[in-house]
Structures are given as C-alpha cells and as structure tokens.
C-alpha cells in the first residue's frame, strides 16, 4: 500500500469515528429526553463511546508511527542515494587516474624505445634511467589508486545496512497493518561486511591533517607533563 493510500485510509477511519461519536451523542441525548437514563441502552451507549475513544487513540498512534516511519525511511533512502553517488564518483575518479597514469607510462616506454633506437650512450643512459624511474612512479600511483576498492566496498556495506533497516521497518509496519497476518518476510541474516560510515575517497589530505593535529596535541601534552 502506498503512503498516500495509507494516509487516505487513516483519514477516512478518523472521519468515520467522528461520525459514530456524534451519532452516539445524539442517541444519548435522545435517551435522556425519553427517560432512558441509567437503563441498559444507556450502559450500552457508554461502552460504545469508550470503544470509539480507544479506537481513535489507536488510529492516532498509527498516524504518528506512519509519520515517524516515513521520516526515517526517507532519510535513509536519501543517505543511501548520496552514498551510491559517492561510490559512482569515486570509481570514475579512480578509473580516470589509472587511465591517465597508464597513458603516461605508455608514453615513457615509447621514449625508452626512442632512446634505444638512437644508439648513442652517455646521456642516453642517464635519461633512460630517469624515464624508467618515472614509469615505476606511474605504475605505483596506479596501484595506490586501487585503494578506492576498499573504500567503496565500505560505502556499499553502509548502503546495504540502511536497506536492511528499511526492509525490517517495512515488514514491522506491514505486520501491524494486517493485524499480524503478514507473510513472514525473508530478511537476510548473513553477516554484512564491516564498514566505516565515514569512509570516503574525498579530502584525504584534510582528514589526515585532522588526525595529525589530534596526535600532535596528545604528544605535546604528554611531553610537557
């Protein structure tokens, strides 16, 4: 059932209860007018009014629960979307960096071929050594870019956790609305990978600086004690 449909049903139920309440009041007034106060009809009316009041309270609780559920779920969906967007940009950035590095390494290998073809020594040996060092640097930078895999897998682990929370909440609501007759949902129980909610490929320099500052303060405190 969609959110708008649930809201509609709750609104209709509350309206119906108000009508019933109003009818009961009229019946009670009629009973007073015709001298039926204190008899069985009066007792019955009082019971029905109590029942109506309790049903109204249940509807109010359902209304509040639905709003809370909707708020939390929407926030989690928003956060999941943001995390997935970050995963997309992180993979794109890592792929671009690796491609750039490989293209530069390829150009350096071409240069090494040219040096070999020139047939001269002395300067060529020195230049070839420098080019080989650049190739190593580029290949190592490509390896470093592969750290995105660890970070994005943590971000995806966080998204999986949020989806599981939403699944549990929807199942609980479904059970509530169907009076416990909802089919048993198949909620995955397998262990999710460990993750950090703050895992990110962005601003690593600033985040390292924060850690360094905290350690520096701690170290300074210890040495001055």
């Amino acid at each position: 059932m969609s959110n708008s449909r649930i809201a509609e049903v709750l609104y209709d139920s509350e309206t119906m209860l108000r009508l019933v309440d109003s009818e009961l009041e009229e019946l009670r007034d009629d009973g007073r007018d015709t001298g039926l106060r204190g008899n069985n009809v009066g007792v019955l009316l009082a019971m029905m009014q109590r029942a109506t009041s309790e049903i109204a309270q249940v509807l109010c609780t359902l209304h509040t629960s639905r709003e809370a559920l909707q708020g939390v779920t929407l926030q989690e969906i928003h956060d999941s979307t943001a995390k997935l967007g970050e995963v997309c940009s992180a993979t794109e950035l890592a792929a671009t960096r690796m491609m750039d590095g490989l293209e530069r390494a390829h150009a350096y290998v071409d240069r090494l071929d040219e040096i070999d073809a020139s047939g001269s020594f002395d300067d060529s040996i020195v230049e070839a050594a420098a080019v080989r060092a650049k190739v190593r640097d580029e290949l190592f930078a490509v390896m470093g870019s592969l750290q995105f895999q660890d970070i994005t897998s943590q971000q995806l682990g966080h998204v999986a956790q949020m989806l599981r929370d939403i699944e549990r909440r929807l199942h609980a609501t479904s059970s509530l609305l169907s009076g416990g007759r909802a089919e048993a949902a198949v909620i995955a129980n397998e262990q999710l990978p460990t993750f950090s909610e703050s895992a990110s490929t962005r601003n690593s320099f600033e985040r390292q600086a924060t850690a360094d500052a905290l350690f520096w303060c701690d170290h300074s405190g210890k040495t001055t004690q």
Partner: protein
C-alpha cells in the same frame, strides 16, 4: 625490521605491502584479521593494522597488544578509512602510535613510521 600488515581486504594488504617495499621495508608478514595477527605478533617488530575487520577489530587488536607485557611497547600504526574525530580519539585511547587515513601514499606511511621510530628512540 619485520612488519606485520593486518587487513581483511587482500587488495589493501597488497597495497600496504607494496608501499612498505617502495619506501625500503621488504620484510613483511600478513594477517587477515586481528585474531590471526595475535598469533603472529611474537615474530614481528612493527604492526600496521586496519580498523574494520571481522572477529577482532584493529582497535581491539591494539588494546590486546597494549595489555600484554611482551608486546605492550610494540610500535603500531592504524591505517583506516575511519576519519571522524571520535574515531581518531578512540584509536589514541586504544594505544596506537600513529594514524594514517585511507587513501594514503607511501610517503605518508614512511613519514609516520619514521616519526614513531624516532619517538621510541628518544
């Protein structure tokens, strides 16, 4: 000097091992979680550990190392994607000597290793 690299991600272990080799440390053993690290701790001189791992986390591993007389002075660096202030403070309280935020470069790792060794030597 023999290093122990602890990370549940095989890719990250290879990156850390290669980074160490790149900056001149070639004697490295590996562990895929804190429990395996504790089995190998007696054979190494320096620990580099991730935080988020199954069974025994990096923070728990650090506390275990610091609580044992034989290993309490072991140099230890945490290399992790966790970078919020509270996480860093928790790692400090657990007893890490230094903290490297992922993604990192071999140069940053080398700086932290040198700083930890210099502090120990002082």
């Amino acid at each position: 000097m023999r290093f122990l690299v602890v990370d549940d991600s095989a890719t990250m272990r290879r990156i850390v091992v290669n980074s160490l080799q790149r900056v001149g440390f070639s004697d490295v053993v590996e562990a895929s979680d804190g429990a395996e690290a504790l089995e190998k701790i007696a054979t190494v001189d320096f620990v580099i550990t991730d935080w988020n791992m199954p069974k025994v986390s990096g923070a728990e591993l650090t506390r275990a190392i610091r609580s044992c007389d034989e290993t309490k002075s072991m140099p230890l660096i945490m290399v992790t994607a966790r970078s919020v202030r509270d996480d860093i403070l928790t790692a400090m309280e657990a007893g890490v000597d230094s903290y490297v935020v992922k993604p990192f470069t071999p140069q940053v790792l080398r700086e932290k290793i040198d700083a930890v060794l210099a502090t120990r030597a002082a």
